[in-house]
């Protein structure tokens, strides 16, 4: 989609979907969506929906790929063909290959793999609906799925997007905003430790703008983190009943 930087997407301080500039879309989180996995979660931000699951820890084959000291984390991010306006043809492409890597890197600082020598922990993200900010939605889901699978973690990872449209800084870009943004930034954090584990920026920003956006993202990650903990809590509450 060609960017149209002049498209009016903020009118009277409100975005096209009625949100304030620093407002998240409706967020839904659910744990245990996929019964056939070690752990799983469903996360939606508005019409962006990710399902994530974890398979393993399990033995890694062929053997020469094994690390005898520690387990490894593998991640696959995938957009389903029907998740976007123009059907996406199945299979990995350059974008999904890069995103699979940066998502893995965003979670590696949080997971503790030393207990699983020679093993792999495989994380899968499937985008069911893609309306902007898919990678951060995927990270939120996979972080929950890892926790649900009982993989030891230093902290949960929470993620969100920020950006600039119509010369205004906003939080949680939807598809329309993403397609017409002057700049967009994806952030993942381990909020308890104030550590950034994903940071990607496109477009053009001054340092001041960028630092403001980063601050907004930090606050939002904090909120998302609380929702994640709530979702896990509800799951375990549910199981105790």
């Amino acid at each position: 989609m060609a960017k149209d930087l002049n498209k009016e997407l903020i009118i009277d301080g409100l975005r096209m979907d009625g949100r304030l500039t620093d407002q998240l879309r409706d967020v839904k989180m659910e744990i245990g969506t996929v019964s056939s996995a070690s752990g799983s979660a469903y996360v939606s931000f508005g019409h962006t929906t990710a399902i994530a699951s974890v398979q393993g820890p399990r033995s890694l084959f062929p053997k020469f790929l094994q690390n005898s000291q520690t387990g490894i984390l593998r991640v696959r991010y995938n957009m389903l063909p029907f998740s976007v306006s123009d059907r996406k043809s199945p299979g990995p492409d350059r974008r999904s290959t890069e995103l699979s890597k940066v998502i893995r890197k965003s979670l590696e600082p949080a997971v503790i793999l030393d207990d699983f020598p020679k093993a792999t922990i495989d994380g899968f993200i499937e985008m069911i609906e893609a309306d902007g900010s898919t990678r951060v939605t995927g990270i939120n889901a996979l972080s929950l799925a890892l926790a649900h699978a009982g993989i030891p973690m230093k902290d949960l990872v929470a993620a969100c997007s920020v950006g600039k449209i119509n010369n205004t800084l906003i939080l949680d870009l939807n598809g329309l905003e993403d397609n017409n943004s002057e700049s967009d930034v994806a952030v993942a954090m381990m909020p308890n430790k104030n550590l950034i584990t994903l940071l990607q920026m496109d477009g053009m920003l001054t340092k001041e703008e960028f630092m403001k956006l980063l601050n907004t993202a930090k606050d939002a990650c904090g909120k998302i983190y609380e929702m994640q903990k709530m979702a896990l809590l509800e799951k375990y509450k549910g199981e105790e009943q």
Binding site: S36, I51, S53, R58, L80, S83, G91, D122, F124, E129
Partner: protein, 253 residues
């Protein structure tokens, strides 16, 4: 617990206490995906699949210049089962896609002749993508249910004067005139049963995927499994499938 399931079946029982001719509980949610022209979420027990239909503008095949084009694809994501692997579609994924494809194509449930835009030049392409979200047995029947439900709620995208799709606008519904459904009948020893759960699939001798259109017409058969099936059992297999197909069809809207 394959040994256990096997033992139970022999004694006329199933691990979840179902009758041999009983499906697990079925949930069908049409219009599940906003970006798709048609979609459905289907759950049979713990098995979950999502079908999404995307409509595109394409070129007809040379020998059917006035008909639309159908494409069925399955995504066996490793998310859905420790048995699924990353990489190109497996043999099983391709087989399932092709059985669903034939069930739809051969039943003539879509009026393909109404999908020409400019006869001989431009026609509608109907892409059905089936995402397996949780594999707990009987993907075949779940996928077929999801596909026909998604087709039934598929809308045409609006076209501009150059016959290009206007994103996000729709008009009219895909002409779907029949409701093919699939019933997979399993055989273990001399027992027949339907809707195998995952552990039951591990112990069946053979499976017969049967497709039926509205008026008891058979529209697809595919034998599966590692063991031959006695010639004389075919009759009762079809009868059982036909009976359950009638029930399933009532759930399809």
């Amino acid at each position: 617990m394959i040994g256990y399931a096997e033992e139970l079946i022999k004694h006329g029982k199933r691990a979840d206490n179902r009758a041999f001719d009983e499906f697990r509980d079925i949930e069908i949610k049409p219009n599940h995906i906003e970006k798709a022209e048609g979609s459905a979420y289907v759950r049979i027990g713990k098995t979950q699949v999502i079908a999404g239909v995307k409509m595109g503008v394409g070129t007809p095949f040379a020998d059917t210049p006035n008909e639309g084009v159908l494409m069925v694809n399955t995504e066996f994501s490793p998310l859905a089962s420790p048995k699924f692997e990353s990489g190109p579609p497996s043999e099983d994924a391709i087989e399932l896609a092709r059985i669903v494809d034939r069930g739809i194509r051969e039943s003539h449930c879509i009026e393909m002749s109404k999908l020409a835009i400019i006869p001989g030049e431009k026609v509608w392409s109907v892409f059905i993508d089936i995402f397996v979200m949780d594999h707990q047995g009987n993907l075949q029947d779940a996928a077929a249910l999801a596909a026909i439900t998604a087709l039934l709620n598929t809308r045409f995208p609006k076209l501009d004067e150059n016959n290009k799709i206007i994103t996000g606008e729709h008009e009219g519904k895909l002409p779907v005139v029949k409701k093919p459904v699939s019933v997979t009948v399993c055989k273990a020893g001399d027992k027949l049963f339907v809707d195998p759960a995952l552990d039951e699939e591990g112990i069946v001798d053979s499976k017969m995927a049967l497709g039926f259109v509205d008026d008891d017409i058979i529209c697809a058969i595919q034998k599966q499994g590692n063991v031959g099936i006695e010639y004389d059992m075919i009759d009762s297999i079809i009868d059982l499938g036909m009976r359950k197909a009638k029930e399933l069809r009532k759930l399809v809207r």
